[in-house]
Symmetry: C2
Subunit: 167 residues, 2 copies
């Protein structure tokens, strides 16, 4: 198992904990060249601020942190980031994004801001998609089969749901 | 004074408090049709998570908040939002962005995400720029004249600094 798969395993463990608590199984991990910096999971219903990525960002980048873009920091997450998490990762000194399952409803991994402000012209982001996707998808399928959240019951994020259900 | 100018006055008050504490004078306010929902200010050096906008977002949108896009919620901020604050405001049920001073270094107010995910095709954001800009610029000028933060002393965000110094 390579380093990305190993770190994604920790994100999947976080996602399983979220699922056990009844939440969308998103887990996220920050690592610097294989060294774990922090881990988090979704701890609320949808459409809130405490996405897994934001939880781990606050863990690692609170206070006077010392990381810079010279550090090889990667974000691992079981689901392609939304616009909030993506915007925040572009703000922070994170150079790589590795995710398991794509989100054709709100995912922004492939997005660019246009016009691109000068600050972001020299901040490339390497994106690796589909790492351990099958396991992540199975967790999302179990969530959708069991959730009582009205957002999902009422047909929310239909493009994402179709992606999870597609075999 | 119209409603936008009045609400921006509160954001400017927050910015003055940030400046008094030695921080970049960014203040932010959330309001729903003239009713104040929350207010925040920058409380750290640059390049951190606790931007004024994020502080007020966490005040107003923590826990099981009841706001939806049917509510006429506006964000007022003394500086054009960065990519993190802009991404988060696009995630939240905020329909209007009103700011004082533009940021040609990292400001994203005019930005779009391309390609645009389906979630964001039906979420227009009204943007009003330049409200009480002169007062905001004067605060930024005072900050730049007095700051001891290495980021600014070393020439950081030069496009923004030029905008503040431009008469």
């Amino acid at each position: 198992m390579d380093q990305d798969e190993t770190m994604m395993g920790m994100a999947l463990d976080e996602a399983r904990s979220a699922l056990a608590e009844g939440y969308l199984p998103v887990g996220a991990v920050l690592a610097s060249d294989g060294t774990l910096l922090g881990r988090g999971r979704k701890g609320m219903e949808s459409n809130h601020l405490d996405h897994a990525e934001m939880v781990v960002f606050r863990q690692v980048f609170s206070g006077d942190y010392r990381y810079t873009r010279a550090d090889p920091i990667s974000l691992y997450t079981t689901l392609e980031p939304c616009i909030m998490c993506w915007g925040t990762l572009r703000h922070l000194p994170i150079r790589r994004l590795v995710y398991a399952m794509s989100d054709p409803y709100g995912g922004c991994a492939a997005a660019e801001v246009t016009p691109t402000p000068p600050r972001h012209l020299s901040r490339p982001l390497e994106v690796i998609a589909g790492v351990r996707q099958r396991e992540a998808r199975e967790l999302f399928r179990r969530f959708l089969d069991t959730t009582t959240e009205s957002f999902w019951i009422n047909g929310g994020a239909s493009e994402f749901v179709a992606q999870v259900r597609c075999d």
